[in-house]
C-alpha cells in the first residue's frame, strides 16, 4: 500500500512488452531491483505492467539480445496530474481566484450564535451589537470583542458575564445571566390564612404568632405577624415566615345520569375519493347515502427522494351509525358521580393518596334522571400564605 502511494506520488507508467522472451525480460527487470506490479499477460506475446517513471530509462539496456519491444501505454501519478493541470491555465486561475475569494470571505462574520440568554431575547442582543457595528457581514478586523462584551454588560444589567469569540466565520456570544434575589424576600408582611380551618400546628420562623392551636380561623386572618420585637426589645417590621397547619375542608359535587346515549355502527359502509392536484381538488364517487354516519379518511401521497408529489388521493370510508339510549344501573351511576367529584378535587390540586386524615361524607340527592353526590373531605395542610404590606 505504502509502495503504491509512493509510486503514485512519484509517478509511474504502464508499459506494454511485446515479443517472445518476455519471461526473461521480467527476470532481468526483477534482478535489477526494479519492481514491476500489476503484470498481466494479455496475449501470448504481450504483457503489460507498471513501473516507476524513474526506472523506465534503465529498462532499455535490459532489452539487449531479446526480441522484445516496449511501449508506454499509460502515465499515472501526481507529476503527470500536475503536468496536465498546468496545461489548463483557466482551471489554475479559477482555483487561485477561488482560494483568494474564500480567504477574503473567511475574514467576515457570517453566522452569529448566542447562548445562555433567557431573560433577554436574542433579537435584543443582535440589535445591541448591531449598534456597536457588529452584524452579519462585518469584517473580523472591524470590531473588538472586549468592547462588545463591555457594551453588552453595560446595556443589560441582567448579565453577569459575557464572552464574545469568533471562530472562523462564526461568532459565538455566551452570556451568563445574573441570578436575581427573589423579590419576595425583600418584601415585608404577614402570614395570613389561605383558607378557613382548625389550627393543629404552628411552627413560626420569624414574626409574632397571632393564633393558637385549636383556634378556628377564616380566610384572610393574620396567623403570624411580620411585626416582632428583637432580642434588644426593639420593634422590627420584617417578613413573617413559618408553617401553620390546619384541618381544612374541601367539597366537590359529582353528577351521573341513569342513562347514556351511545353510537352504534351498522354494517353499511360507503366509499368515495377526493383527488387533489396542486390547489384544485375534485370528488370521485357517489354522495353519502346515509343521514347519520362517521367518516374515516386515509391520505395517499407518494414521496420521491423525500419530496412530496403534488398529487394526493384521499379515501373516505363512511360508516352508517345510529344512536341508542342505554340505561345505567344505580350503583354504577353512584360510582361514576363519586369518581367525578374526586376528579374535581384532584383538579383543585388535592392528591387522593395524600389525604391521610380525611373524612369522606357522601350526600346522595336523587332526582328524576340521575343522582348527585356531594363529597366533603377533611385534610391537614399548611394554610399560611404570605401577604405583603404595601
Amino acid at each position: 500500500m505504502i509502495k503504491q502511494v509512493w509510486a503514485w506520488l512519484t509517478g509511474y507508467i504502464t508499459i506494454k512488452f511485446k515479443g517472445v522472451d518476455l519471461e526473461v525480460l521480467l527476470n532481468r527487470i526483477a534482478d535489477q531491483g526494479f519492481g514491476l506490479w500489476d503484470v498481466e499477460r494479455v496475449t501470448a506475446d504481450i504483457i503489460i505492467g507498471k513501473i516507476p517513471i524513474r526506472r523506465f530509462k534503465k529498462i532499455r539496456p535490459l532489452l539487449q539480445g531479446l526480441n522484445v519491444r516496449i511501449s508506454i501505454i499509460g502515465k499515472s501519478g501526481l507529476p503527470f496530474l500536475i503536468s496536465r493541470m498546468l496545461q489548463r491555465k483557466a482551471l489554475i486561475i479559477g482555483l487561485v481566484v477561488f482560494m483568494l475569494v474564500l480567504y477574503y470571505l473567511s475574514g467576515f462574520i457570517w453566522f452569529i450564535e448566542i447562548h445562555g440568554c433567557e431573560q433577554i431575547t436574542r433579537e435584543d442582543i443582535i440589535t445591541e451589537i448591531a449598534n456597536e457595528g457588529l452584524k452579519i457581514g462585518t469584517a473580523k478586523s472591524d470590531f473588538n470583542a472586549a468592547e462588545i462584551e463591555n457594551s453588552l454588560l453595560v446595556k443589560f444589567p441582567q448579565f453577569s458575564w459575557v464572552g464574545v469569540n469568533s471562530k472562523g466565520v462564526l461568532l459565538t456570544i455566551q452570556v451568563v445571566e445574573r441570578t436575581s434575589p427573589l423579590v419576595q424576600e425583600l418584601q415585608y408582611g404577614d402570614l395570613v390564612a389561605e383558607r378557613g380551618g382548625l389550627i393543629t400546628q404552628i411552627l413560626p420562623y420569624r414574626g409574632t404568632v397571632k393564633v393558637h392551636v385549636g383556634d378556628t380561623v377564616k380566610k384572610g386572618d393574620v396567623l403570624i405577624s411580620g411585626k416582632y420585637y428583637d432580642m434588644y426589645g426593639k420593634l422590627q417590621h420584617g417578613r413573617a415566615e413559618g408553617i401553620v397547619r390546619a384541618r381544612v375542608w374541601y367539597d366537590a359535587i359529582g353528577e351521573a345520569g341513569f342513562s347514556k346515549v351511545t353510537q352504534v355502527k351498522t354494517e353499511n359502509t360507503h366509499v368515495n375519493y377526493t383527488i387533489t392536484l396542486g390547489n384544485s381538488s375534485f370528488n370521485w364517487g357517489k354522495p353519502v347515502p346515509f343521514e347519520l354516519y362517521t367518516v374515516d379518511s386515509k391520505l395517499w401521497q407518494r414521496h420521491v427522494k423525500g419530496y412530496k408529489l403534488p398529487l394526493t388521493v384521499t379515501m373516505h370510508t363512511y360508516s352508517q351509525v345510529y344512536y341508542e339510549i342505554m340505561s345505567i344501573p344505580r350503583e354504577l351511576a353512584k360510582t361514576l358521580a363519586l369518581e367525578r367529584a374526586w376528579q374535581q378535587l384532584e383538579e383543585a390540586g388535592i392528591q387522593r393518596e395524600k389525604i391521610l386524615d380525611s373524612h369522606v361524607k357522601e350526600y346522595v340527592i336523587e332526582d328524576q334522571n340521575g343522582l348527585r353526590i356531594g363529597l366533603i373531605i377533611e385534610i391537614e395542610e399548611n394554610i399560611a400564605c404570605f401577604e405583603a404590606d404595601f
Binding site: 519471461e23 521480467l26 526483477a30 503484470v39
Partner: protein
C-alpha cells in the same frame, strides 16, 4: 552424494533450530485461500500464462496452475501472484 550432504545439513539445521529458508535459501511460500500466493527467495519466472505460472526455486520448479493468474508484484526475491489458484506443484529440474 549431494543428497547425503543435504540430508546432513538439514539434520544439523534442525539440531541447531535454525530457519531452513534462510540457511538453505529455500522458498518461503505463503498461500492466502486460493486467491493469492506470495513466494520469497524465488529465482525467476520460467513461464507465465494466465493459466500457469512456473517459478524457479532452489532445487527445482514451482508451478502454480489456475485461472486468471497475474503477477501482482515482482521484485528481486519476492513475487506475489493473484488469481484463482487450483494447484501448486513442485518438480525437480
Amino acid at each position: 552424494m549431494t543428497n547425503s550432504v543435504s540430508s546432513r545439513i538439514k539434520k544439523l539445521i534442525d539440531f541447531m533450530d535454525l530457519p531452513s529458508d534462510v540457511v538453505l535459501e529455500l522458498p518461503r511460500i505463503t498461500v492466502i485461500g486460493n486467491l493469492e500466493i506470495l513466494v520469497e527467495n524465488h529465482r525467476g519466472i520460467q513461464k507465465y500464462t494466465s493459466e500457469q505460472i512456473c517459478l524457479r526455486v532452489k532445487g527445482g520448479i514451482m508451478s502454480v496452475n489456475g485461472r486468471k493468474l497475474a503477477i501482482k508484484i515482482i521484485e528481486k526475491d519476492y513475487i506475489r501472484l493473484e488469481g484463482i489458484i487450483e494447484r501448486i506443484q513442485f518438480s525437480s529440474q
